[in-house]
């Protein structure tokens, strides 16, 4: 496929959007870079250089007749996990590499994937099952599981509300863990049959940055040390915020009631 200069720039922008979306869905760095390189080559670039870290992507493509094109994209959110869109993007890249579609069509398909977020009810059910399941898993009773599930709903609600504000992930972890710690602590004082530790452990599983940590290690193993180290440090700070919030709440409950 031969592209005009104008189309080449359009393609580069399209590919950067794709890379940004991949990062936002929780793809590893190597997957982002590899996807951009394969896509560029599929569209006729002689040479493609893609570089990504968690906060920026640069892409240079050399076509036969023209000078190289370089575009850069700053990434602001790259810590999400959305396997639904990740898989769609993966399918799109597979089919495009096999048989490239016109750039305008690619743009339309990308926008379609970007808008197709998972429904909220799925997130709610997921949180309920995960928190409830793990509260019982770590040794809680069925009542502990149900309470953890109820507080999972509160956590979802808070996460959604905080999503509309400027708050950072560290701040939101601190705030959410403090509030839920306080809530669970108070409830357990009122209803002595509940086990505070089991309920909190179930809810901690929702907030613990396990995925970010796993991905950071996989990034470092894949040779993307910068991204891996940045994300590992970030997730340790998030975990510390989480611990700080819960500990403060536990101290307040123990000292006052």
């Amino acid at each position: 496929m031969t592209l005009t200069k104008e189309k080449q720039t359009e393609l580069a922008e399209c590919l950067l959007d794709m890379g940004a979306l991949l990062l936002d869905c929780g793809a590893e760095i190597s997957r982002v870079e590899e996807t951009l390189m394969r896509m560029g080559r599929a569209y006729g670039a002689r040479h493609v250089d893609a570089f990504a870290i968690t906060s920026i992507i640069t892409l240079t493509m050399e076509f036969d007749d023209e000078d190289a094109i370089t575009e850069t994209r700053r990434i602001y959110s790259s810590a999400g996990t959305d396997f639904y869109r990740l898989e769609k993007l993966n399918d799109l890249s597979r089919s495009c590499c096999a048989a490239p579609i016109p750039v305008a069509e690619l743009r339309a398909k990308l926008e379609h994937v970007a808008e197709g977020k998972k429904p909220e009810s799925v997130i709610l059910w997921g949180s309920i099952l995960a928190a409830g399941g793990f509260a019982v898993f770590f040794g809680g009773t069925i009542w502990d599981g149900l309470t953890a599930a109820a507080f999972a709903l509160l956590i979802c609600f808070l996460q959604k509300q905080l999503g509309h504000t400027q708050i950072s992930t560290t701040g939101s972890n601190l705030f959410i863990s403090f509030l839920s710690g306080l809530g669970v602590g108070l409830l357990c004082r009122l209803v002595p049959m509940l086990h505070m530790d089991m309920i909190l452990i179930g809810d901690i599983m929702l907030l613990i940055p396990g995925i970010a940590m796993t991905n950071s290690i996989r990034n470092m193993l894949g040779g993307n040390t910068i991204s891996g180290a940045v994300r590992l440090l970030e997730s340790l700070i998030w975990a510390a915020a989480l611990a700080g919030g819960f500990m403060t709440a536990m101290l307040i409950v123990e000292l006052t009631i």
């Binding site: 898989e87 997921g126 995960a130 409830g132 399941g133 898993f137 193993l221």
Partner: protein, 143 residues
């Protein structure tokens, strides 16, 4: 025995929950949750034979990632989808909580113990992932 059964069932439910939370497609959900459950079963089995925290978690995580690679191959999707749901029952939420609890109550010796446990488990999971990744890379020719 009853305890083991409860753990296996709740590991399945918990993995299923995380699968939903991360937007896994319906057709993958069962297989993802099954991976988490078997991984925990392997942890329990190894721990019963050799009560060594690192080894048991390492074996379980090696299984979880191998399973993820196999599923990715069979079901034509990225392995990441199944890695997360496979290792999630091993995530040391329990010992992290106990470490915090002991620290708040001033029992620093036990807090250190649980903190140490948390780290060992996290390292074992990471080592398991590394091990499988390296094995896969050995079999992939250079592009």
């Amino acid at each position: 025995m009853k305890q083991i059964l409860i753990q296996l069932v709740t590991a399945f439910i918990g993995s299923l929950g995380f699968g939903l939370l991360f937007g896994l497609r319906t057709k993958h959900l069962f297989w993802a949750a099954l991976g988490g459950m078997i991984a925990w079963g392997i942890y329990l089995g190894v721990y019963a034979l050799v009560p060594e925290l690192f080894l048991a978690n390492l074996c379980a995580s090696v299984f979880a990632v191998t399973y993820a690679e196999l599923m990715a191959h069979l079901r034509k999707c990225p392995a990441t989808l199944f890695v997360v749901t496979g290792v999630v029952p091993m995530v040391p939420g329990g010992s992290l909580y106990r470490a915090m609890d002991c620290a708040v109550n001033g029992d620093l010796a036990r807090a250190g113990d649980y903190g140490h446990k948390t780290l060992v488990v996290a390292l074992a999971i990471a080592a398991g992932i590394s091990f499988v990744t390296v094995c896969r890379e050995l079999h992939t020719p250079k592009t």
